[in-house]
Amino acid sequence: MKKISLSMTASLIAIAGILLIIYFLSSGKAVKSSYSYGIILPDSDTALGGIFSSLHVQDSTPYYIYKKSEDSFNSIKQIRDNRNSGKAMESISNGVMGVFSTNKKTFSELPFHPFNPGDTVIKSFIDSLNKVYLKPSAKESEVMDELINKKLSSQTTYRMDSINKELEKEKLYYFGLRGYELKDYDTQFYIADDKYHLAYVKWDRQAGENHNKEGHYESKQIKVRYTSERKTILIPISKKIYKILNITIWAFSFLTGALILYFFFGLPIRLLINISKGKAFTKRNIQMLNQVCLFAIIISFFTIVSPYIFRLLFWQHIPDDFKMESLLNKIFDNLVVLFIAVITFIIAKAFKKGYTLQYEQDLTI
């Protein structure tokens, strides 16, 4: 009995050690590999959703014009980058999947501007102000200022509300699967005309003695959206399904959270209370420790295995250009939980031995 538990613990530690070494070796390799090839980028700034566009302004242009073009270029670029990388998305997700929603358009893409002078609401307001007074006294002008401020702020709120309403009208909903990467390092995801595309490298010439490998970008449409920031594939869904999934995932996360609280905080606290009461080596304590260990194993097993199950379920939606994060990465993401499992396993074994000794001791008269 003693030998078995000892060898099990030793082998667990050995496995962890080997995994650690493999991880460091493999990560070292990825950094070292060099890219000696040339890819010709598209000439046009609008090609491939403009992901490769850069600012070209003649040197001779006056500074203010240069600055203005730079600003507008940057703002367009930022909107585009945010959209392509999937920033500013509302989401509820656990480590494996989640639901995401985002506005189809951004603030600056709306057909009207908040303080467009041609806007009828603003125009009538300015007209009404113009009609009012010619030469106000100091006190009167103070009152007027206050009135104007009040009206302006109420107008602003009104405009902001209507803008938000306008934005909310067109929302996009997604079901997200986490832990996906693009297979090829050079492939990029982009959105153009509300459709999802991948820009991938087509190789024209293999590397020879005197020249590097050469290629150019080509584009193809895919059915899903991708966010490189969260490494998530986003499958478009309807609002109804979004709402259902939203509640489901929320409930699921709540349940998991409650279980984690119970097993990783509740039980250890109860264990401490029991020990402080002098009931250290009892069957209940060993049971609690085993439960914590089992829970840690189950939780890490599910986070490691469930992405594969989801991949099987949604294989039709996942383009071939994506691959899953490596198993080792997943294991290392869960290293803390696995470590908890090993530690509680050791402690449970020690408590079991303690329980046997306590039993013998109690029945020795």
Binding site: Y359, E360, L363, T364, I365
Partner: protein, 67 residues
């Protein structure tokens, strides 16, 4: 032996210096071990040999007794 000495469990426990609960564990055969000091004391009080209060049984007999 207790009957022969006309002594109650309570009296024995008091004179030996162990609790009644422990003595009944000992008497019923649930005990896993006995300290030499306890054995010595019991023998001294009851004026007997360890053989008079200890008996070997094989597993079958023991289980029968415990039933």
């Amino acid at each position: 032996m207790l009957a022969r000495r006309k002594m109650s469990l309570t009296e024995l426990s008091e004179r030996v210096g162990i609790t009644l609960a422990n003595l009944s564990i000992l008497k019923s055969g649930k005990a896993r071990a006995i300290r030499f000091s306890t054995l010595e004391e019991v023998c001294r009080i009851l004026e007997c040999q360890p053989g008079d209060i200890l008996e070997y049984m094989d597993d079958k007999e023991y289980k029968k007794l415990m039933r």
